[in-house]
Amino acid sequence: MTTTQPVTEPPRSLGQAARERLGTAFGPWFLPTLAAVIIFGLMVALRPLVASPTGLNLVLAPLIPLIFAVLAQMFIIAAGDIDLGIGSFIGLANVVIAVIIPDSPVAGILFLIGMVVAYAAMGVLIAVRGLPSIVVTLGMSFVWLGVAILILPTPGGVVPEGIVSFVRFNPQVVPGVIIVLTVVTVAVALFLSRSKYGAVLRGSGSNAEGVRRAGWSVIRAKVSLYVLAAVFGLLSGLYLSGQTGGGDPYIAQSYVLLSIAGVIVGGGSFKGGEVSAVGAVAGALVVGLLGSLLQFIGVQSSFQAAAQGLVLVLVLVLRALVNWIQKVRRTL
């Protein structure tokens, strides 16, 4: 037995190495981004106006709150959990911004901070008691909705002008939505994939025990992820408030399923830790733009729900297929 024998595994063929390199260069974010670009391209082809600065703003602005919601959900899914309450949470944020903030900004901001703390506490409860996140967040969704209705029994309120103009900020040179989209995507992507704690957070979702053994606090990681989710929920609520100018407890109910779909389409997996910020934003664009595209093509309104569901199924079937092919190829 000699120590000079160098090769521990059979050398890889050039093609194999190239494929591996491609696989890493085009991570899970690649397919959804491609899909978003294709959908957007189709929309431009059908209605060239979409590509104009006004068009971009019209098409993309309503997606900004959804993108924040998807990012919020992404943090929860990164923790290996699922959040069925994010829609009501965003609705509550919207109501607080439209009703409490105009009267008393301090009370409003304290309330919003309280909401973040509540989310952190929920994360701790789920982590420490080993509770199923689906049911806990489902129960909490009723609580958020109830509190919102108590604050604002019927939709109304007036969002402060400052918030409205901040959200609708649109320098003519570059469409405002493009600025927000870029800043948010880059910031989250940098934090999640290029910061050390981001790596710890992703690691804690996939193998909490391993991360704990490496000397990190798993509870703190869980809390961080829930706090991040809450903060992005608040941002989603902020943008919804600015865009609509008023408060509505029910406003974001549909975000629950859309946000989960966005993360999954964006290359995320329920296994935890497997998320990508760029992918999630692309996933949000896909699920958000899909409705518009179906509308441009002229799909009947009754079919739109099924069409969206079908796309989700197709994406997952496709991914299952890809995984299966890879597995078969590996065993051959």
């Binding site: 120590t3 595994e9 690691g203 830790g273």
Partner: protein
């Protein structure tokens, strides 16, 4: 670090009990600065447990642990052992599948900070990797989930040796080489020796005894939680270590003797070649022609070999190939190494009772009757009286203690195992498949189990018995010894001594176990 003490680690009188299992029993040993030592012992001897007490992951019950001259009571845990210079590679891998290699490095390397945290961590890790495993072929941007088990193990091993904020003083490696090939293993030990010369102390557990003898300075042998002997590696041989491990077995066999071998192999109406073939295993031989191994009705066949060499895979293939009704035949089942065909139905006893055995929410009775429900139902309903009668019968036959209405988790480990035996035996299937069924079972009960199995065989039940305790293979009619997935020898139960089995499983030279079981679990 405190240089006043020549000993990096002193363990004194540590004990640790898990419920009814005394995993570590008054263990003491010492590791000197810059020394490589090994801990050998059978499965469940307590190796992993004592190491976890040493690094402070779990609290022991009594004793003291002194690291670098700083003593602590063993019943405390340590939140950050890495800050004391204690690094560990655990038996179960602790890497995060979703991270890249350089990110993984950074999670271990607390010195990698700032903007260039990834490149710093990767640089630190690669420096070790390149030397520890030349030609490792690991790229920094590969995802852990895409790496082979061997490469993951390389990353874990290397990560313990990086010079982070606190330099490593004591490195604990729990079966670090279990999936490395010979060349990697060699370079790995070479690296360890180099670091030892710099003053790093290393503790290694491994079931590859020659590795210890060739590379370490001293070897402690554990059995049943006790540190029984200490050997200098220079003078040690595989036989001497096995004897140290086996010595205990001989002692215990004096306490509760295994039925003497004459009973096992020669008496009773043992099956002749005339009786019906129940299991047929076919494997390609060296010369290309296929070799066939047949198991006949009423035989007790042992599957032996080193852990991870395909015995378990073959046993499971027999289970999957068996039919759902007595006497029925199913299409043969192919594994990587065998084509398996079975006549008749089977019942399976798993030794990994936590994962593959008990239903923890149920009481003992429901656990026992589960596999026999087919014959306990009338009009689709389970007949309570018949169920109670069956449970009662097997309570008596196996001498199970306690109430059948208690939750199964309230039983001691050995008793749980008996309940699982009862579940499988109560089926009355053509085949009884045993996966290390006496794991955690005491000697007296073991003898009862052996007796019972011989009774079953005499009644015509065929038994296939995978065991990691080579001693008990002497209860078999024949033993199939596995190596690298294939059956390499067939010996009679009488010849199945510990030494014989070990010699055959090593085949004269060492082989890395292949990752066969991993694929099934």
């Amino acid at each position: 670090m405190s240089d006043q003490s020549p000993d990096t680690l002193v363990v004194q009188g540590v004990s640790k009990r898990f419920g009814s299992t005394l995993a570590v029993n008054d263990a003491s040993f010492t590791v000197r600065r810059g020394e490589l030592i090994g801990i050998a012992g059978h499965n469940g001897a307590g190796k992993s447990t004592i190491l976890k007490v040493v690094n402070g992951t779990i609290a022991g019950d009594s004793g003291t642990v002194t690291v670098n001259g700083i003593a602590r009571s063993a019943d405390t845990t340590v939140a950050h052992p890495e800050k004391l210079g204690v690094r560990t590679v655990y038996q179960e891998l602790s890497l995060c599948a979703s991270l890249r290699v350089d990110e993984t490095a950074a999670i271990f390397d607390h010195s990698a900070r700032g903007l260039s945290w990834r490149s710093t961590a990767w640089h630190n890790l690669r420096t070790v990797l390149d030397e520890m495993f030349p030609g490792h072929g690991i790229r920094k941007d590969a995802k852990i989930s895409e790496l082979s088990i061997a490469r993951r193990q390389m990353i874990e091993c290397a990560s313990t040796m990086i010079d982070s904020t606190v330099r490593p003083a004591l490195v604990i490696l729990d079966e670090p080489t279990s999936s490395l090939d010979a060349a990697s293993t060699a370079s790995f030990y070479a690296y360890l020796k180099k670091r030892a010369a710099e003053g790093v102390s290393v503790i290694i557990t491994t079931h590859r005894l020659h590795e210890m003898i060739d590379n370490l300075s001293r070897i402690y042998v554990m059995r049943d939680g006790q540190v029984l002997s200490e050997q200098r590696a220079e003078g040690a041989t595989k036989e001497s270590i096995v004897t140290a491990m086996g010595l205990a077995a001989h002692e215990s066999s004096r306490v509760a003797p295994i039925a003497d071998s004459s009973t096992v192999t020669t008496t009773d109406a043992r099956p002749t070649t005339a009786s019906e073939v129940i299991v047929r295993l076919e494997q390609p031989g060296d010369d290309g022609a296929s070799e066939v191994f047949e198991i006949r009705k009423g035989e007790i066949i042992g599957f032996a070999g080193l852990e991870g060499h395909g015995q378990l895979l073959a046993l499971e293939a027999v289970y999957r190939a068996s039919a759902r009704r007595s006497g029925a035949v199913r299409a043969p089942r192919r594994t990587a190494h065998h084509a398996v065909s079975v006549t008749g139905d089977s019942a399976y006893v798993s030794g990994d009772r936590g994962v593959r055995g008990i239903f923890p929410l149920w009481d003992v009775a429901t656990n026992i009757s589960f596999s026999s429900l087919g014959k306990l139902t009338a009009g689709g309903l389970v007949k309570p009286k018949a169920e109670a009668a069956l449970v009662h019968e097997w309570y008596s036959r196996l001498g199970i203690k306690g109430q059948s209405t208690d939750p199964i988790t309230s039983l001691s480990g050995g008793t749980q195992q008996k309940a699982l035996m009862a579940r499988a035996m109560a089926v009355g299937s053509d085949l009884l498949l045993l996966e290390d069924p006496t794991r955690g079972v005491d000697q007296a009960t073991k003898s009862e189990v052996y007796e019972l199995l011989r009774g079953q065989a005499a009644e015509g039940q065929t038994i296939v018995w995978y065991s990691t305790e080579n001693e008990e293979l002497r209860n078999c009619d024949r033993v199939f010894v596995f190596r690298v997935g294939k059956i390499v020898a067939t010996i009679t139960g009488a010849d199945a001594t510990e030494d014989a089995v070990i010699a055959l499983s090593f085949g004269g030279q060492d082989v890395a176990p292949i990752d066969l079981e991993g694929a099934v679990r």
